[in-house]
Amino acid sequence: MSGFMDFLFGWMQNVDPKALILAFSAIGAGFAMIGGIGPGIGQGYAAGKAAEAVGKNPGEGSKPATLVMLLGAAVAETSGIFSLVIAIIMLFANPLVNKTGVGLVLACSAIGAGLSMIAGIGPGVGQGYAAGKAAEAVGNRPKLQATILRTMLLGQAVAQTTGIYALIIALLLLFVNIF
């Protein structure tokens, strides 16, 4: 076989497996953080909608709109927090390095866990959108705050699921001896 693949696979076999796990954990942590795109977009949308709402109804709409925006944005933050937690686990309390198993498999588990967390973009964007629309609606009709808020939270809960799935897969890859 040619030197190229020999180099590739031979090198993978010669490198210390624990180093490979920790190295790939650095990449996995980086991937995980990309999930943070979601809350950034979503909460920014909520901010814009709330600013618009307080402009339209500065009197009685301002406070409820801001409150709903903050509440909705807090929900939208979750996938960013999930990503951060997974990254911190990989950086500071890496469970893979203590596992028994083939180094390459454990190392790629770190990358898989990080990739999985990218799913968090979705709930972050979507829940932030919901927060913005709810803030707008509450600004227009402050008396309906409870109904609007309930609908927002219900919808946000539904939008959270794929982020939870991703978190579960990441935790499985990091903590459970699957292979």
Binding site: N14, S116, G122, Y129, K133, G155, I178
Partner: protein, 93 residues
């Protein structure tokens, strides 16, 4: 711990871990879409509170439809992690 030997099984399992992670990225879609539905639902109940139950049930029906491809991704990831047919195939060769 002897990790020095990467064999075929190890390579398949390693790439399965990456494949599982990639499959989960599908979850971006339902998250955005259902969040949009949530926002439109909140807006609509604010405008027509008397139609709340119709609005919410339509929103949830649509959101359930939007969930499917996220579930597909989850299923493929679970298959790769727990019932890896590729390893089975490899062992049978």
């Amino acid at each position: 711990m002897d990790n020095q030997q990467i064999d075929g099984n190890a390579l398949i399992l390693a790439c399965s871990a990456i494949g599982a992670g990639l499959a989960m990225i599908a979850g971006i879609g339902p998250g955005i879409g259902q969040g949009y539905a949530a926002g439109k639902g909140a807006e609509a109940v604010g405008r027509q509170p008397e139609a709340q139950s119709t609005i919410v049930s339509t929103m949830l029906l649509g959101a359930a439809v939007a969930e499917t491809t996220g579930i597909y991704g989850l299923i493929v990831a679970i298959i790769l992690l727990f019932a890896n047919p590729l390893i089975t195939k490899y062992q049978s060769l």
